[in-house]
Amino acid sequence: MAEEMRIVLRNVGKIDPLKIDDYINAGGYKSLAKAKSMDRKALIDEVKNSGLRGRGGAGFNCGMKWSFSYMLETDQKYVVCNADEGEPGTYKDRIIMMEDPQSLFEGMAICGYAIGSNKGYIYCRGEYPYVVERLNQAIAQAKVKGVLGDFDIEVRMGGGAYVCGEESALIESIEGHRGEPRFKPPFPGVEGLWGKPTIVNNVETYANIPAIVEKGADWFKNIGAASYPGTKILTLTGDVVNRTYFEVPTDVTIRDVIFGLGGGIVGGKNFKAVQIGGTSGGFIPEQLLDTPIDFDSMAKIGATLGTGAVFVMDETRDIVDIVDRISKFFEHESCGKCNPCREGTKRMHEIMHKINAGKGTVADMDLMENLGGVMCVACLCGLGQAAPAPVLTTLKHFKAEYAAKMN
């Protein structure tokens, strides 16, 4: 059975997050000192060789991303932390920021040194004002101690727009604009915040950095799955016994997560489906539960690891009703900039709602498959491209549930 392995959450429950001395006594800020003793290129290579990939959902090699900004000569670069945790069922970044904020700051400062930046922003969702308060208190302590050197960190609040989890939309929002994604290229690593090279990484990604610098790339890359090494924090919701969070190596299987640490299904009922990675993730049926959770294994079964949200549904759940609700989410959260997403999410919800109300036809299912296929390739950003996944994967694995609602 899978067991927890805490790298990112190593200090959670062991230190007082509002006592910076606790963090320092636990070895905190030694990694930043070590990083600063290293050549910047060698430091980035170490992060690259560790195999650490973005923990926000996109899974890009972290050190590789850093290298794009490192190479550029300019008067200013920025280190941005994506803490706009808006993916339904996800709250891991809140836990990190509330319980161990200094490890996030240390990771950001190491990135700052590596790419040559003295300014960091944490873009924290507006729904977390208590997290913003905690971060500001912790930043004030770090400043008094002088542990961040000349690296400055400022917190900015999001406004409840799911799309701002997309890095270029997030940058637009920090600049004080509507959070609409930019056309890429140029990518933020080259031209980001106020036109300057900008690294945008998730909270969990930065929080991995101090341990990687301390223990080395070889240590990290031997944990979990080879192509997506390390651990992942998972947050369990729905009909699972242990509705909680834990951190596990990335080679555990979905079955282990739900029936091992998750404790199985509430009330001894049978399992029906699990949606992993947030509300844009694919629905996974029983026969695929032995898949490891790592990024590439999940992609192979048409699912995602995403943010690590694990939404479990028992045998009594109405899949069509749940997907109807999810399709309403995407209609609401589409920013409206590109037509395939603005119109596509609206029509998808319209058809899902019609089917859920018992007024659908077989032709509607074909229409949704067609529309979903178009959106996957034609939408400007990840929001619209991923939005059809719940519909398409349930049409594939749970078609009988749709058929049962046909007019």
Binding site: R156, G159, T235, F311, I322, H332, C335
Partner: protein, 148 residues
Amino acid sequence: MADYKSIIDAYKDLPGGIIEAYHALQREFSYIPEEAIPYAAQVFGVSKPRAHGVATFYSYLRVGKRGKNVIRICESAPCHIAGADKVVAALEKELGIKMGESTSDGKFTLEFTECVGQCQATPVITINSKPYGDVTAEKIPAILAEYK
């Protein structure tokens, strides 16, 4: 109560600070007063439509009056299957208003929200952003009593 101009002025030197100014207004008034939008436009050097466009883009921000205590009910999938509809019904009954409305005494507004990141305890509501988890219809009167 502070006036909206001094609240906005406090952010005038912050690059991209218009959203932070809107949050500050909302902390004071529980919403963004209509008349604050043209002033924010002037202070941050953008057009009025643009300032309005920013304020209305973000669902956490609200332009125009609403109740002093804003109750938001999460309707994202994990809360949906945990019985958010029963919580909605209980709140509507207790306050005598429908979702999206405010009580006539100006004390409460009911709104839907998407995930607020407290999914260890679904269904979740927030009152002035303070989360309440594992909410049931039975718990509603006691929760609201704190704000009456």
